[in-house]
Structure formats: structure tokens, C-alpha cells
């Protein structure tokens, strides 16, 4: 089991890394990354869930070695697993449910509107790329350009009339 109790003076408070859990979690995270880079929102969601499970597992690793459930009175306190990461992960799990539901609703809505649940590229961004490609300026600048042209024209009128006087 565990190579040494937490708080062993020889080891300081170092904790040995549990390789099994780390490998399992890393695998889930790697596969999750592969999936969230997909276009299909369902796949993204599946990837996200998997990533989340992997990350939650890492909390256990970080919390230290396995132990007895952290319920006072059922076991000596020293043998219990660290309760703090557990509480944090509990919160994370429930939030994940909310996220899952929300993304699913989005996938469904996307399917209703577009007939698929693919994540589309942002059209506004494409418009800006278009501007950049044609060496153009944004709308906000167009105003002052026009005004500048108008004023230049006005200036010329002044000069002509000045010459006539």
C-alpha cells in the first residue's frame, strides 16, 4: 500500500506519486484533448467530461496516499485520506453536470438551426480577416477618412477663392 505515513519525519511530508492513477488520469486527459479539438459539439462535450474526470482523479493523487474515508470516529485520523481535495472535487463533479447539460442544450439548438452540431467559425472574425487581406480599415475609421477628404476639398475651395480676391 502506501510506502510511508503522511508526516514521516524522514521524508519530510513528501508524498510518493501514485503511478497508476497518474497514468490513468493522463490518458483520460490526452484523449479528452483529442476530442475537444473536434468540430462536433457532442464530441467536444464527451472530451470535456473525460478531461474533467481525469483532472478530478489528479486531485486524489495530489491529496496524498489512499486512506480510510474521512469520517471522524470510523478510523484513526492519521489513516484517513485528505478530505480537502475530496470536497473540492465534489463541487467540480456537480458543476460538470451543469456544464454537460448546458452544452447538450447548445448542441441540440445548433442541430435545430443548422442541421448539425458542428462548432462554426465566427463570421465576424472572418470579416475582419477579409479586411486584413484587402489592407482595409475597420468601420470606425471610415468616418474620419471621409471627413478628412471632405475637409481637404473645402480647403481647396478656400484657396481658389483666396486667389480670386
Amino acid at each position: 500500500m502506501c510506502t510511508g505515513p503522511v508526516g514521516d519525519p524522514d521524508r519530510g511530508d513528501r508524498v510518493s506519486a501514485n503511478l497508476t492513477l497518474i497514468i490513468t488520469a493522463s490518458f483520460m486527459i490526452g484523449c479528452g484533448v483529442y476530442l475537444i479539438l473536434e468540430r462536433s459539439l457532442t464530441r467536444v462535450l464527451v472530451g470535456l467530461i473525460m478531461l474533467g474526470n481525469g483532472a478530478n482523479l489528479l486531485f486524489m493523487v495530489a491529496g496524498g496516499p489512499a486512506g480510510k474515508p474521512p469520517i471522524i470516529g470510523t478510523a484513526p485520523t492519521e489513516e484517513m485520506a485528505d478530505p480537502l481535495p475530496q470536497a473540492l472535487v465534489l463541487t467540480a463533479i456537480v458543476i460538470a453536470l451543469g456544464t454537460t447539460a448546458f452544452l447538450l442544450a447548445m448542441a441540440h439548438r445548433s442541430w435545430q438551426l443548422n442541421g448539425n452540431d458542428d462548432v462554426q467559425d465566427d463570421l465576424e472574425d472572418a470579416a475582419i480577416r477579409q479586411l486584413a487581406a484587402t489592407d482595409d480599415v475597420s468601420d470606425s475609421h471610415e468616418l474620419s477618412q471621409e471627413a478628412s477628404a471632405e475637409e481637404d476639398a473645402e480647403e481647396e475651395v478656400y484657396e481658389e477663392e483666396g486667389a480670386e480676391q
Binding site: 484523449c31 486512506g67 478530505p83 447538450l104 467559425d121
Partner: protein
């Protein structure tokens, strides 16, 4: 003093209400506050004259060395008189200038009086940081006033241009102020002048401060914003852009001059730019056809003039400057107001259309002549007195060795004299051009049709012109008033005194020359205009500004176009690559040979881990949606198993419940989505994603090994068990952490759940989530079902399945439901109350109740769900949040802290002595939120989608009906 500043903003807030009541006369009501300021300032005259100061200091942010420090000496007193006095007159003028039905009236009046307040605060601030705050406030109000007509493109542009230019200067000034504060340990102007810092840092700071002053006062190279600002209504031009705001830069220079006039760079910068600005403004004023623009360029010219005088730093120059400051405020405001009257009554400001107004508006004409005479520097106006003194002061500087104590070289002094004389010649010429343009009868131009001018409309300019004339005779009185300010400078070569008659001398001769050449230029204006046209240059700083803004915009477009590709996957890739490159590199660098790892805590972990890894791999390969979801479910249950093996039964329980719920929800939605994912060829991108996934996985593993080994302190939770029992009153440390120690986290979490549920509901329902809960007895049964009598009084358990068509009913499910439902509810209640001491808690309990509802829904359809839970999901979640919040706040009523727990013990006789911790109420709130969330998910993904599917089927059966798909 502070009260007066605040009163401006307060009455500005009343502006909309007062406008509804008074119409355009609202300006008269609002003018009472500047009027009170004026009266207050006049009442302080005696104190100020005797060299006293009015000071008010309130400590505000001592750690930043930033106080509300107000101070009024002579200079500030004069500025207060100008700001409030001209403010009152211009606001009175506004009461005639605007129309009652002007829609922007309330906003304009409010902003206008707010500006007056900000300006008052600016001139009274002794703390330079406070001054900066008011400084930027005036910029913002100026922006709003210039852009008073947002429908006009020109006014929007002019407003933005003024804002950008003056804010740029303001920011430079802020940096300068902070540097000065750093150097000398104070931000007070009065203390800085008394003991100015020196050195290269101080010079840099001073230059930065000057950038702010010059930009505000429209000096070269910032001058172009001021003529642009003429897009504002004329009262704004008269008040902000002639009398008060543009004087802020002049004021700042005058304020700092006693301490900094000898500093490096001061004279070089201000004198050069000031004289050049004076010449440029005058030159361009002669080329304008719009009489308002003519005045605007005249203002630019005069501001250069004023800054030059104040920058000199001798006693005589300071006296001349104060006189010119007052004179300019009086005559320029008058002339702008006159332009406003002409514009209002003839509808034009173009000199080519104006003709013969002198005879039609004799009073206005006389007023304009007085003000113009002052501008040109003709006796007996105040402007003449001021200009004579300026000439005298400058001649002293040029002709005395050492520049009359300023260190200005003689040639430089003479250059300034020549520049100012030339500038005055141009001033004389454009003054005549203005009078001629506005009032003369011109050949070939039809007399402009002019409406009569009401007496009240003309009152303000008349009063100002009268002051211009009257104060011209009060030279000695003014000198005595200004005495305390002059005492800041050493006595110069000659004793300076304001007077109409200084005797025959060089100053008078210069005045004479100025008048003669000025008149000559005006008479020969056609020749001069041709000359100007010949020498006109196309180069302008305004074009530089525009090109700068254009380049900025272009750069922004390019940067955005390159970095913002609009694809989520691309962004994620970028983030992950950065994670790998930066922290990843550090991780690899820190990886020492001796890592402390163990294979497992328990061999079972390896078995479960292998299953999870396999499931994860197959998930990525799966092309069917349902299979992917089931496989990810396997990884979820596997994770739960690993939790259990690790000693976290609470987590395992919750994970299993969440995983099950997720599966149900997935399946409910997947019935609407295509079976297979969109097919994509195995492209290079996929190989890249695989590589990235593998790299991230490896990186995470490395980080985890390092991080786990890096621990050197005992975990914080070592100290939890004692307090958990003592204060939290629970044996389950998880529960105590969630409900007591870190209860704020939980509070945030349930709020997120409510938000998520609301988001889901709005995405599915689209219009309203109040879809109406319909009980079984309210609906018509399908014809295939034998009707059994149902009435509100009669209760049948599990009536829902009868509403389904026979092919959709499942006897097994119905049986299971009958067996399971009550057990699950009892279990959930047990979990809820046992959670504090054993495995369980509000989350788990809520999920179990929710799953019980799922079972009812699966067995009996949407009507059965409404039978099981005839409440609105939103209501349930709202109640949950309320209960949680109330129990969090309740301890405060008993003198405790938010979310504090207490133990209650009951004596129920034979039922025992149950003891209850108050945080259980909080947990009940959590429970309700979670049940509400699940109910909401069922209503949306279940009932609502059922209804949509049913409708589509019906539409498919009757194609004629058609209709839109919802």
C-alpha cells in the same frame, strides 16, 4: 469650497426633472449654483487681496499621498471668478439660445453645469492628482458637449478628436505628476512650487506635465482639435473653448511658473511653441469664411500668447498675464456669444452671406466693437492695458542682462518680442476682418434677413463688454488685487503697474506699429489673401493625427485578423501549445533523476485504471454518438471506482449519480441528433491532434509527478478533524468542509447550477419556461385508452402510462417504478440528514430524488413527471437558493458571522434526542437546487423534446399542415 463643487454635480442630476418643469428656462435655475460660487468668491476678495489663502484639506488616500486638498490664492480666485461669472452669463444666454422643444435640452443643461463644477474643482485643486481627476472630467464633459448632436457625423468626429488629443496629453501629464510626486514626496502644487525638484528626472516629469497643458490649451502641435470643436453649440464654444477649459493649460503653467520657470526646457518649449502658435492661429484666422472658425483660430492664437507670457516668469510678466487672462476671457466669450446671436437670427455664419447687420443690430454691433477693440489691444479697453504691460515686460526681459532674472538670452528675448508684435499685427488684422465679416454692408451681397434679438439674449454679451470697458480704467485696483501673486516673483527691472497710460515709450510705440500694420493688412486684404494662398502649405499636424489613427486602425485590423481566426479549436490549440512550451519547458528542466513513485496504493486500482484507459481510447475512435456517450460513461464509473478505492466514498457516490444522470440526459437529447458523427477524412489535422493530445497527456503526467514530489509541508487538512467536530458539529469532514469551512464555494456552486439550468431552459423552450404543468386529470385521454373516471378528488398512483400509446408503454418499467420510487425518496431523505455524519449530503440526496423523478418520467412520460412533481423547476431552484441564503445570513441575526454553524438539540421524549446542526438548513437549500436542476433537465430534454417530436410526427402525417419546425 468642496460643497460648491458638489452642488454643481447635484443640480446637474436634477436637470431632467427641472427641464420638464421649466423648458429652456432650466438654465436660469441651474445658473443659481455658479451664481452662488461667484458670490462666495467675491466675498473672499478681502482675504485674497491681503495675501491670505482659503484652504480645505480632507484626507482621502493617505497611502497614495492623495488628498482632497483645495486651495484658493489670487490665481485660483481669478479663475473661479472667470469660471463662475462667465458660467452664469453663458447659462443665462442659453435660456434664449435653445428652443423649448430641443430634445437634447435636459442632457445638455446637465452636462453643462457638471462641466462648470469640474472646472471649478480643477482650478481649486491644490493636489495635482485631484487636479488631474477634474482635468479629465472636463475632457469628458467637453466630449459630450461637442458631440451634443450625435446624429451629425462631423460633431461625432470632432468630439472624438478632441477627446483623443486632450486625453493623450492628460495621460502624459498624469505620468509627469506621479514622477514629480515621487521625486519630492508631495503632490501639492503649493509645496512643489516652494521646493521644486531638479535633475534629469524632474525635467522629464516637467516636460510630460507640459504636454498635458499644451494639449489642453491647443498649442502646436495639438492646436487642430480646437477649431474642430466648433461643431459644438455656440454657448459651449464661448464657455469651454474660449473662456474656461482651454485656459486650464494656461492656468497650470501659471500655477507652476513661480517654481519651475527657471527649470531646464521650460522656456525653450513654451516660448517657442507659444509664439509659433500665436502666429499660426492669426495666420489661419485670416483665411476663414466662417466667423466662428475665425474666432476659433483667434483663440488658438491668443492661447499661444497667454502661455508665452505666463511662461516668462517675471513679476511684470505675471501681472500682464493675469490681466490678459481676464481680458481674453471677457472679450472672447463676448464675441462668441455675438456670433451665436448672429447665427440664430440670420441662420448663417458665412461671411459671404452676411451683410448689413451693423444697422439692424446696433446694440449687438456696439458690443462686438467694444470686445473686438479689447482683442486688438486698443485703448481704453482691458485688452489694451494687458497688451501694453506685456510689451513692457517682454522688453524688460530682452533688454536687461540675464533676461530680467529669467536667464533668457537677449537674442531670444528679442525674438519673442518680434514674434509677439507680429502676432499682434495678425490679431489686429483678423479683428477687423471679423467686424467687417459679421457686420459690414458688402457690395453684391443681399442684406441677411435677421430676426429681432430679444433683450435677454443680448444681455450676457452686453454685460461682458461693459466689464471689458470698465476694467480698462481699473488698472491700479487690479494691480493691488493681484499683488499677493506677484510676490511669488522677485522684483524686476521696472516696477510693473497696470494702467491705461504708461507715458510715451517703446511699449506705446509698439502698440502704434501694431495698429498701423494691422489696419494696412486688412485694407490690402485681397493682396494678402493671394500672398497667403501662394505660401500655403499642405503639411498639417491634423493630417498626421489622422494618418496616425488610420495606422492604428490598420494595425488593429491586421493583428486581429492574424490572431483572431474565429475557430475555437485553433484557440484551444494555441493555449495548449503555450502550456506545453512554457510551463512544460520549466517542468522538463526541473525533472531530476530521482522521482519518488509507487505503482499503486492497491492493486485493484491498476485493474480499474486499465479498463478506464481502454474505454477512453475506444471513445475517441467511436463514430456513433451513443457509443461514445456510453464509453465515456464507463470512464466516469471507473473514476468513481477509483475514488472509492482511494477512500472517498462521498465522491464515488456523487460521481455515480452524476454519471447516471448525464447518461439519461445524453440519451434524451441524442434521440434528436443524428446517430453518427459527421464523417471526416483522416487528415493531417487529425494526426496533429493525436500528437497534441499525447503531448498534453505526457505533460500532465510529468507535472503531476513533480508536483506530488514537491510537497514539503503537512497538508492543511491535518488540522481539520478537531474543529470539524467542535465548530462544524459533524463527523463527515467532507460535509463540514462543504457546508461550513468552505461554504462560500458551495454557495457559488449552487448559483452556477441555477444559471446553467436557466441557460438550458432558455435554449430549449426559447420563449417561456412556464410551459404549464398539466395534470393527468386535465387532459383528454388518447382514444385507444379506456377511460377510467378521473376527477380532482380521485387519486390513482402512476396514472401517467395510461396517457402513452400502447407501443410506448413498458410494463417492466412500470413495475420497477412502483417498487423503486418510494425507496429512492426515503433513501434521499436519509442521505440528506445523515450527510453530516456519514456518507451523503445535499448533493447526493438531490441527485437521488432527481433520479427517482427520472424513473417516473421514463415509466409514464411527461404527464407522469408532472404528476410526480407538480411544481415549476425554476420555483424549486429559487426556493433552494433562498433557503441557502437565508440560512447563511441567519446567524447574523444572533450576532454570529455569515454561514456560521450552531448545534441544536431537541428533546422528543420517546423519539430520542436528535441533534441538528444549523448548516443542515443550508444543505436543504442545496438539495432543493439540485432537485430543481434535475427537474428542469427532465422538463426540457424530456417533456419539451417529447412534444417537439410528437408535433413533427403529426406534421409528417398531415403534410398539408406544413409549418415551421420549432
Amino acid at each position: 469650497m468642496l460643497a460648491l463643487v458638489i452642488a454643481h454635480f447635484a443640480i446637474a442630476g436634477l436637470s431632467p426633472a427641472l427641464t420638464r418643469l421649466l423648458g429652456r428656462r432650466v438654465f436660469l435655475a441651474l445658473a443659481t449654483v455658479p451664481l452662488a460660487t461667484l458670490v462666495w468668491a467675491l466675498a473672499q476678495t478681502a482675504t485674497i487681496r491681503d495675501g491670505g489663502s482659503v484652504v480645505r484639506t480632507i484626507s482621502w488616500l493617505p497611502s497614495l499621498d492623495f488628498d482632497i486638498a483645495l486651495r484658493m490664492d489670487v490665481l485660483q480666485w481669478l479663475m473661479v471668478l472667470i469660471v463662475s461669472g462667465i458660467g452664469v452669463l453663458v447659462m443665462a444666454y442659453c435660456a434664449w439660445y435653445f428652443d423649448n422643444d430641443d430634445p437634447s435640452l435636459a442632457r445638455f443643461a446637465g452636462v453643462f453645469v457638471s462641466f462648470a463644477g469640474a472646472m471649478l474643482g480643477l482650478v481649486l485643486s491644490d493636489d495635482l492628482l485631484l487636479l488631474y481627476v477634474f482635468w479629465e472630467l472636463t475632457t469628458v464633459f467637453s466630449y459630450l458637449l461637442i458631440g451634443n448632436d450625435p446624429a451629425k457625423r462631423a460633431s461625432r468626429l470632432a468630439a472624438t478628436q478632441a477627446l483623443v488629443v486632450t486625453t493623450l496629453g492628460g495621460l502624459a501629464m498624469l505620468v509627469g505628476i506621479l514622477m514629480l510626486g515621487q521625486l519630492s514626496g508631495t503632490h501639492r502644487a503649493s509645496e512643489l512650487i516652494a521646493d521644486p525638484p531638479s535633475g534629469a528626472m524632474a525635467t522629464a516629469a516637467l516636460v510630460l506635465v507640459l504636454v498635458g497643458a499644451l494639449s489642453k490649451s491647443a498649442l502646436i502641435p495639438f492646436h487642430f482639435w480646437l477649431p474642430g470643436a466648433m461643431a459644438a453649440p455656440t454657448p459651449v464654444s464661448a464657455y469651454l473653448h474660449a473662456a474656461s477649459m482651454v485656459k486650464a493649460g494656461v492656468f497650470l503653467v501659471a500655477l507652476l511658473a513661480p517654481g519651475f520657470a527657471l527649470a531646464a526646457g521650460w522656456h525653450g518649449i513654451i516660448l517657442t511653441l507659444g509664439v509659433l502658435t500665436m502666429l499660426l492661429g492669426g495666420w489661419r484666422a485670416l483665411r476663414q469664411y466662417d466667423i466662428k472658425l475665425l474666432l476659433a483660430y483667434g483663440t488658438v492664437s491668443q492661447l499661444g500668447f497667454l502661455l508665452t507670457i505666463f511662461a516668462i516668469g517675471t513679476r511684470a510678466a505675471a501681472l500682464a498675464g493675469l490681466a490678459m487672462l481676464l481680458a481674453h476671457a471677457l472679450f472672447k466669450a463676448t464675441l462668441f456669444l455675438v456670433v451665436g446671436i448672429i447665427d440664430k437670427s440670420t441662420g448663417t455664419r458665412d461671411l459671404r452671406e452676411l451683410s448689413g447687420l451693423a444697422r439692424r443690430m446696433p446694440v449687438v454691433f456696439a458690443t462686438a466693437v467694444v470686445a473686438a477693440a479689447s482683442m486688438a489691444g486698443l485703448p481704453p479697453m482691458l485688452g489694451f492695458v494687458g497688451k501694453e504691460s506685456v510689451f513692457a515686460a517682454l522688453l524688460d526681459v530682452a533688454s536687461t542682462t540675464g533676461g530680467d532674472g529669467t536667464g533668457i538670452a537677449s537674442y531670444a528675448g528679442w525674438l519673442v518680442v518680434v514674434g509677439i508684435v507680429l502676432g499682434s499685427v495678425l490679431t489686429m488684422a483678423y479683428t477687423l476682418r471679423f467686424l467687417w465679416a459679421a457686420f459690414a454692408t458688402k457690395e453684391g451681397v443681399a442684406p441677411a434677413p435677421a430676426k429681432p434679438v430679444p433683450a435677454g439674449f443680448a444681455a450676457a454679451p452686453v454685460v461682458l463688454a461693459a466689464l471689458t470697458l470698465g476694467l480698462g480704467f481699473a488698472g491700479s485696483g487690479l494691480t493691488r488685487l493681484f499683488e499677493p501673486h506677484l510676490a511669488l516673483y522677485p522684483e524686476g527691472a521696472h516696477h510693473a503697474e497696470l494702467a491705461l497710460w504708461h507715458g510715451l515709450g517703446l511699449p506705446l510705440a509698439l502698440s502704434g506699429i501694431v495698429v498701423l500694420i494691422g489696419v494696412f493688412l486688412f485694407v490690402k486684404r485681397k493682396v494678402f489673401a493671394q500672398f497667403q494662398a501662394l505660401t500655403s502649405w499642405t503639411w498639417s499636424t491634423e493630417r498626421i493625427y489622422r494618418n496616425g489613427m488610420r495606422s492604428l486602425d490598420r494595425a488593429a485590423v491586421e493583428v486581429t485578423g492574424t490572431t483572431q481566426v474565429g475557430s475555437v479549436a485553433a484557440y484551444l490549440t494555441f493555449i495548449l501549445l503555450v502550456v506545453l512550451a512554457l510551463p512544460g519547458a520549466v517542468m522538463v528542466a526541473n525533472f531530476s533523476g530521482s522521482v519518488d513513485v509507487i505503482a499503486w496504493d492497491h492493486p485493484a486500482q491498476a485493474v480499474v485504471g486499465a479498463i478506464v484507459i481502454l474505454a477512453a481510447l475506444f471513445t475517441t475512435r467511436s463514430r456513433r454518438r451513443l457509443r461514445a456517450v456510453l464509453l465515456v460513461g464507463v470512464t466516469g464509473y471507473g473514476t468513481a471506482m477509483l475514488f472509492l478505492l482511494h477512500g472517498a466514498p462521498d465522491l464515488a457516490l456523487t460521481q455515480v449519480l452524476v454519471e447516471t444522470t448525464s447518461l439519461v440526459v445524453f440519451v434524451l437529447v441524442l434521440r434528436r441528433l443524428p446517430d453518427y458523427f459527421t464523417d471526416r477524412p483522416l487528415s493531417n489535422r487529425r494526426w496533429f491532434r493525436m500528437a497534441l493530445g499525447a503531448a498534453v497527456g505526457l505533460g500532465v503526467a510529468g507535472f503531476m509527478i513533480l508536483a506530488t514530489n514537491a510537497r514539503s509541508q503537512p497538508p492543511v487538512s491535518d488540522g481539520f478533524p478537531g474543529p470539524a467536530l467542535e465548530f462544524g458539529g459533524g463527523h463527515s469532514m467532507i460535509s463540514v468542509i462543504l457546508l461550513d469551512m468552505r461554504a462560500w464555494d458551495t454557495m457559488g456552486e449552487i448559483s452556477v447550477l441555477v444559471a446553467a439550468a436557466t441557460g438550458v431552459a432558455s435554449l430549449i423552450f426559447l420563449d417561456t419556461r412556464m410551459s404549464g404543468i398539466r395534470r393527468v386529470f386535465e387532459i383528454p385521454y388518447p382514444e385507444t385508452v379506456e377511460k377510467i373516471p378521473t376527477a380532482p378528488g380521485r387519486r390513482v398512483w402512476l396514472p401517467g402510462p395510461r396517457t402513452l400509446t400502447p407501443d410506448r408503454r413498458s410494463i417492466i418499467f412500470e413495475v420497477i417504478t412502483r417498487l423503486m420510487f418510494h425507496t429512492m425518496i426515503v433513501l434521499s431523505i436519509y442521505l440528506l440528514f445523515a450527510g453530516h455524519n456519514h456518507v451523503g449530503g445535499g448533493f447526493a440526496a438531490g441527485m437521488v430524488t432527481g433520479l427517482a423523478l427520472v424513473v417516473r418520467y421514463l415509466a409514464g412520460g411527461r404527464y407522469e413527471l408532472d404528476e410526480a412533481a407538480p411544481v415549476d423547476a425554476g420555483m424549486l431552484m429559487g426556493t433552494g437558493l433562498f433557503v441557502a441564503t437565508a440560512s447563511a445570513l441567519a446567524p447574523m441575526a444572533f450576532g454570529g458571522a455569515v454561514l456560521q454553524s450552531a448545534e441544536l438539540t431537541f428533546h422528543l421524549g420517546p423519539l430520542g434526542d436528535p441533534h441538528l446542526v444549523t448548516s443542515t438548513f443550508f444543505d436543504v437549500g442545496v438539495y432543493l437546487v439540485v432537485v430543481g436542476l434535475l427537474l428542469d433537465l427532465l422538463r426540457t430534454f424530456g417533456s419539451r423534446l417529447d412534444r417537439q417530436i410528437l408535433r413533427e410526427e403529426r406534421e409528417a402525417e398531415t403534410p398539408a399542415a406544413g409549418g415551421a419546425r420549432l
